[in-house]
């Protein structure tokens, strides 16, 4: 049997002292001071890092401000270059779309048979092209495009002349099928009549006053020329 203990202790709990060599009343201020110093060092490190970052930000801001004007100039130059390049491209497209007929006419003059008088050679004007940007509506503020891009124009050649009979005209049309002309003219016979080239628009009696007394005929033949492409 374990007897219960009887302890008549006259000492208050608050009067008991620590036997530890390092007393709590000494340790607490030291620990508190160390904690304060630690906090100060930590705060100092943070402040230093903040100041460093702020200085870097200021430097970067000044650098950006210094380069802002240069950047604007570069952007302007890039815009100018882009505009110029667009113009050059457009001019290149125009140049590529250009069709020359000098050689054709020189060859034609030497191949016109006797009995045929050419009255008119006409390349009809193509319909006006829309130079509005895609999706834009016409208005005063809308800047038109420099020219058509990636479009294809159908070019036709109309030959009008007089003759006494039909053989010289046939000879002329035969001679125009020569390879020296086919780089300019398109010969397409086995196609529907509206897309055929050449296509005889008319061949009739000349009723003009200048032709009175002579049995003259007027012919009107239309040829398709090679397409005019606006592309680089």
């Amino acid at each position: 049997m374990k007897a219960p203990n009887l302890h008549l202790n006259l000492l208050h709990a608050s009067e008991r002292q620590s036997s530890s060599p390092v007393r709590l009343r000494v340790m607490l201020p030291i620990l508190a001071a160390l904690a304060c110093v630690g906090c100060l060092v930590w705060w100092g490190v943070l402040t230093g890092q903040l100041m460093l970052v702020k200085a870097q930000v200021e430097t970067i801001k000044q650098d950006i401000a210094a380069k802002q004007s240069e950047h604007g100039g570069i952007l302007g130059q890039m815009n100018t270059a882009r505009d110029i390049q667009a113009e050059v491209d457009q001019l290149t497209m125009y140049a590529n779309a250009r069709r020359t007929y000098g050689e054709f006419f020189a060859n034609l003059a030497s191949n016109v048979p006797p009995g045929v008088a050419l009255m008119e050679l006409e390349i009809p004007e193509p319909p006006a092209q829309s130079l509005l940007p895609p999706g834009a509506k016409p208005g005063p503020k809308v800047k038109p495009l420099l020219g058509p891009t990636n479009t294809v124009d159908v070019v036709k050649l109309r030959i009008l002349g007089r003759t006494l009979k039909n053989e010289p005209v046939e000879t002329l049309m035969k001679s125009l099928e020569d390879p020296s002309f086919t780089n300019t003219l398109v010969i397409a016979k086995d196609v529907p009549p509206d897309r055929a080239s050449p296509r005889i628009r008319s061949f009739k009696q000349d009723t003009s006053p200048a032709a009175q007394g002579a049995q003259l005929l007027i012919f009107d033949v239309e040829y398709l020329c090679t397409e005019r492409r606006f592309e680089k």
Binding site: A3, P4, N5, L11, S18, R23
Partner: protein, 398 residues
């Protein structure tokens, strides 16, 4: 800390239970102060381990340079720090004090109140003097002490919690209920002596005081680990024969039931003196004669022992009549010599032998300390109060 939520509802928070409270020490040195032993202050270092209670050291340590103060002025004077030898440097020390101003008594709360009211006019003489420069400041009175003092002055019943020190009329006291209601055991010392004792062992050095007890109250815990006491189921009687006084204590199932000091009897010092004069012995021979069977010293002891045995008989009769408690084991503790003759005289008059065990029975003695093994049961009695003080201070380790 008390928090008043409403007019009628109050909650109390005990911060000491939230991990901030002090733990019960498991390594304590018990020391007897002012015991009057020329060899020094008896000290015992007691440690509670898994294998039980271990006595690491027992011996006499040099007494403090300054004597126990008798006045506030003496207590306020700076004193020389007291340090114990290495083997007694446990973390905590339990001081058992023998003071002419102390008291340890069995009483009732009503008697205690009446006693304090009677002594109230003397309060001014026990008050601390004004503080002087260069004098260590003594601590202020806790609120509980003021309450007790005020209640005593008004003649009201004291509201003193068991085990919690209170103060009245310059005396600090503590009480614990006994097994028999409404009796309590009360012990007290002058406030200035307790504050002096609290600072006697300097802070920051081993040991520091964790307990201050009166010497009689320290004796009461010394029986706790006795195998014979535990074998009797804790129902036994004990005669504590000290240097100048004799105390009687009755236990019922390990709980203290009765405590009193024998009136009109002297302690073993007077008995030795009487034997010495009656038999014409030298001082060094007295203990040998009392422990020897060659010469029967009972005739010389009779005048001293007989009144104590009569008091023992009265006490045993009281336990039988009042509590129907028949005691068949009576311990005699504290005697440095002659226990055998005490037992023979008790057997003759009461038909009841006295048991005089070694103080360290039931405890594990440290094999490293060879002096412990040399302690005879008679010699070990010098450490009775020191062991009791240490055992009592380790109250949570039972």
């Amino acid at each position: 800390m008390k928090l008043q939520l409403t007019k009628t509802k109050t909650i109390e928070i005990d911060f000491s239970r939230l991990g901030g409270g002090r733990r019960t020490p498991s390594d304590v040195t018990g020391v007897v102060l002012n015991g009057g032993d020329a060899r020094g202050c008896p000290a015992v270092r007691l440690v509670h381990k898994k294998n039980g209670w271990n006595v690491l050291a027992a011996g006499f340590v040099p007494a403090p340079v300054d004597p126990l103060p008798e006045t506030w002025d003496a207590a306020n004077k700076s004193h020389v720090a007291w340090s114990l030898p290495v083997e007694f440097q446990a973390p905590s020390a339990a001081l058992a004090v023998l003071s002419p101003n102390m008291f340890t008594r069995q009483t009732t709360p009503d008697a205690l109140t009446a006693d304090l009211v009677q002594t109230a006019p003397k309060a001014s003489s026990g008050a601390p003097p004004p503080r002087k420069l260069g004098v260590r400041r003594l601590e202020k009175k806790p609120a509980a002490e003021k309450t007790a003092e005020g209640a005593a002055e008004k003649g009201q019943e004291l509201d003193v919690k068991p085990g919690v020190p209170a103060q009245a009329n310059g005396v600090r006291f503590v009480m614990q209920p006994l097994a028999e209601n409404p009796f309590v055991i009360q012990a007290g010392l002058p406030e200035y002596q307790i504050q002096w004792l609290a600072h006697l062992l300097p802070e920051g050095r081993r040991p520091t005081a964790c307990s201050v007890q009166t010497l009689p109250s320290a004796l009461l815990a010394s029986l706790c680990e006795q195998p014979a006491f535990n074998a009797a189921g804790g129902s036994a009687f004990a005669i504590f024969v000290m240097r100048t006084t004799v105390y009687l204590a009755g236990y019922k199932e390990g709980k203290l039931l009765l405590f009193r000091s024998c009136p009109g009897v002297a302690g073993w010092e007077m008995l030795r003196e009487g034997v010495k004069l009656r038999l014409g012995l030298e001082d060094e021979m007295v203990d040998e004669i009392l422990d020897d069977a060659l010469i029967d010293p009972r005739s010389a002891m009779e005048p001293f022992v007989r009144p104590i045995l009569q008091q023992l008989e009265i006490s045993l009769d009281y336990l039988v009549s009042r509590h129907n408690l028949r005691i068949d084991k009576v311990f005699i503790m504290g005697l440095p010599s002659g226990a055998r003759y005490w037992s023979q005289m008790a057997e003759e008059s009461l038909r009841m032998p006295l048991i005089a065990p070694s103080v360290f029975d039931g405890l594990v003695l440290s094999p490293k300390n060879k002096e412990l093994a040399e302690l005879t049961p008679s010699k070990s009695q010098a450490f009775l109060a020191a062991l009791g003080a240490a055992r009592a201070a380790m109250e949570g380790q039972a």
